[in-house]
């Protein structure tokens, strides 16, 4: 409780110092509830370079939020900060109302943040089912001694992991691939498996780093459907980095545009499409184009 008030107070103070961009992108249905993610003045320096600076964002509990920007804008760095792969130099990250200061990536995941990676990171020598089962690791416990002695609880647990893993794989129609080695899957399937594995950890916030990279238009269309389906079914927040503007503009309710490590615009897809700063960041200044 005290933590929360503390935070609210800090927020009020910090708002005074630096004006947070006025456009709120949280959908109406999520207002009044603790947001899935709240970042305040988040930043990290690499040497002297401010890779990410003054990053403020609020993501509602069931919001799909896009994080876009030109190459090298710091989008993946933001994900690495949110999951504590990098320790932030400044600022606060609140997940479901809880401060993540001092937590390691594993603990942040247990708080409810799961992610996929731009360069796919699966457990390549394990099977598809085992990959998902590892994701279920903290959802159900079975001790080492129990497993080594093959006590009844072990068999019950294995059955549970098996059933739950297949159930999750079914979202992407991948149950039939359960016994395949993850590393041998085609690219698109590997991306989908990464999402299933992240979902298995029962997150409140799912971070997708370029989920449509390398997919053809029909695969992308299917992915879009599935992202919305996941949000509706699991009632979670999804934040995604994507270069496919069709995907971003169609499924994201809020969009945050990053350039040189700073937020240059926030708003609904319509607002972003009309925003001059965004157009400039992507296409360069109008004058230069004409010249």
């Amino acid at each position: 409780m005290s933590k929360f008030t503390d935070f609210a107070q800090r927020r009020r103070e910090s708002t005074k110092m630096v004006p947070v961009p006025s456009v709120s992108i949280m959908p109406e249905r999520d207002l009044g509830k603790a947001p899935a993610l709240e970042c305040l003045h988040l930043g990290i320096d690499f040497g002297g370079l401010k890779a990410v600076d003054d990053f403020n964002i609020t993501v509602g509990r069931t919001e799909i939020c896009g994080l876009i920007g030109p190459n090298g804008a710091g989008k993946t760095t933001v994900f690495n900060l949110l999951t504590k792969v990098y320790a932030p130099t400044r600022g606060t990250i609140m997940v479901d109302g809880q401060d993540t200061a001092g937590l390691d990536p594993a603990r942040v995941n247990r708080l409810g943040v799961a992610r996929t990676f731009q360069n796919i990171r699966l457990f390549n020598t394990l099977t598809v089912e085992e990959n998902v089962a590892v994701g279920l690791h903290n959802q159900h416990h079975c001790g080492m001694a129990t497993s080594i002695l093959r006590l009844p609880h072990h068999w019950k647990s294995e059955k549970l992991y098996h059933e739950r893993a297949l159930e999750l794989l079914d979202i992407f129609d991948m149950a039939g691939l359960a016994d395949h080695e993850a590393g041998s899957l085609p690219y698109g399937a590997q991306r989908r498996l990464e999402i299933v594995r992240a979902l298995a950890t029962n997150p409140k916030l799912l971070l997708l780093d370029e989920p449509a990279a390398g997919m053809n238009p029909s695969e992308t269309a299917e992915l879009m459907e599935n992202i919305v389906k996941i949000r509706d079914r699991f009632q979670i927040a999804i934040m995604l980095i994507e270069h496919d503007m069709n995907l971003v503009m169609n499924i994201c309710e809020g969009i945050c545009v990053l350039n040189f490590g700073k937020i240059i615009a926030k708003g609904t897809p319509e607002e972003i499409q009309r925003n001059d700063a965004v157009i400039e960041a992507y296409l360069g200044k109008q004058k230069e184009v004409e010249a």
Partner: protein
């Protein structure tokens, strides 16, 4: 005075470790492999020098030269036959091959030279230096060893920094594929590194046997491990690190032997290694590697 004598002895032993560690670290830097057979090259070098002087009657300096040449050739041959086919194999397979080469060299030496220790003192013996009216006795061997180490360090630093081949070597260590795309002959560069490392090992072998004058087929194995430890201590892949690690290790070993316990000297050496690695996980002069996410 005793302290000073120990310090000099330690630096001398450390210089030998440093010279061997240079070979380890350079090979690791470029081929990303732990060359466990490196220690046995020392033994081969010492035997060649021994044979040249006591059987062929050559002067000591010719013996040293012959042993450097012999080990250089050995290094190149071993690399070509055993390691080159494994360039893209998992690192553990390369490690096991290196262990196989180590067994091979030891057992070949056992067959050729026999298991009885050969006395090296008959080959080269240098007088001791007496300073401060005899209060401090330093063996000329110790001085020679330290000087040799300094000379080698200076030469290597110039070589890697200034020459074209040295730059090629550093480029290959940094990124082998990119170096290849820039027109560097990676295979010959790796061969060169093995040649240099093995040549240095020959020098180290002779120097070591000046201080501890017996040669056996297993002579090289413990100094080899210590030198490997020294290379890691300094930060494996780093040339100044190998020198620093080697000298530090030698000094610690001699001091532990003198002031703590002869039997526990090795335990102290390895203990220091562990402590240093816990404080600096990439060694004293090594750069920590961050995985890109």
């Amino acid at each position: 005075m005793e302290f000073l004598a120990n310090l000099i002895n330690g630096m001398s032993l450390g210089s030998v470790y440093a010279i061997i560690a240079l070979g380890y670290t350079m090979v690791y830097g470029i081929a990303k492999m732990l060359n466990f057979a490196h220690g046995d090259v020392i033994m081969v070098g010492a035997y060649i020098c021994f044979c040249a002087v006591s059987y062929l009657g050559l002067p000591a300096i010719a013996g040293v030269a012959l042993s450097v040449v012999g080990c250089t050739v050995l290094g190149i041959v071993v690399e070509r036959l055993a390691y080159k086919p494994l360039r893209n194999a998992p690192s553990l397979n390369v490690l096991i091959t290196a262990i196989g080469v180590s067994y091979f060299l030891q057992n070949a030496a056992l067959l050729i030279m026999g298991s009885d220790p050969k006395s090296f003192s008959s080959v080269i013996s240098l007088p001791a230096l007496r300073l401060f009216d005899g209060a401090l006795t330093i063996s000329a061997t110790a001085v020679l060893t330290i000087l040799a180490c300094v000379a080698i360090m200076v030469a290597l630093t110039m070589f890697t920094g200034k020459t074209k081949m040295g730059k090629a070597m550093r480029a290959c260590s940094e990124d082998r594929d990119a170096a290849q795309l820039m027109g560097i002959n990676v295979n010959s560069t790796i061969s060169m590194v093995f040649a240099i490392g093995s040549g240095l090992a020959a020098i180290a072998g002779v120097l070591m046997c000046l201080a501890y004058p017996t040669i056996m087929p297993t002579t090289g194995s413990m100094p080899g491990i210590k030198a490997f430890t020294a290379a890691v201590l300094g930060g494996i892949g780093s040339i100044p690190g190998a020198a620093l690690g080697g000298i530090l290790l030698g000094v610690i070993e001699i001091f532990a032997r003198a002031y703590i316990s002869t039997q526990l000297a090795d335990a102290v050496v390895f203990g220091v290694l562990i402590v240093i690695l816990l404080i600096r996980p990439a060694g004293l002069l090594g750069k920590p590697v961050h995985e890109k996410v």
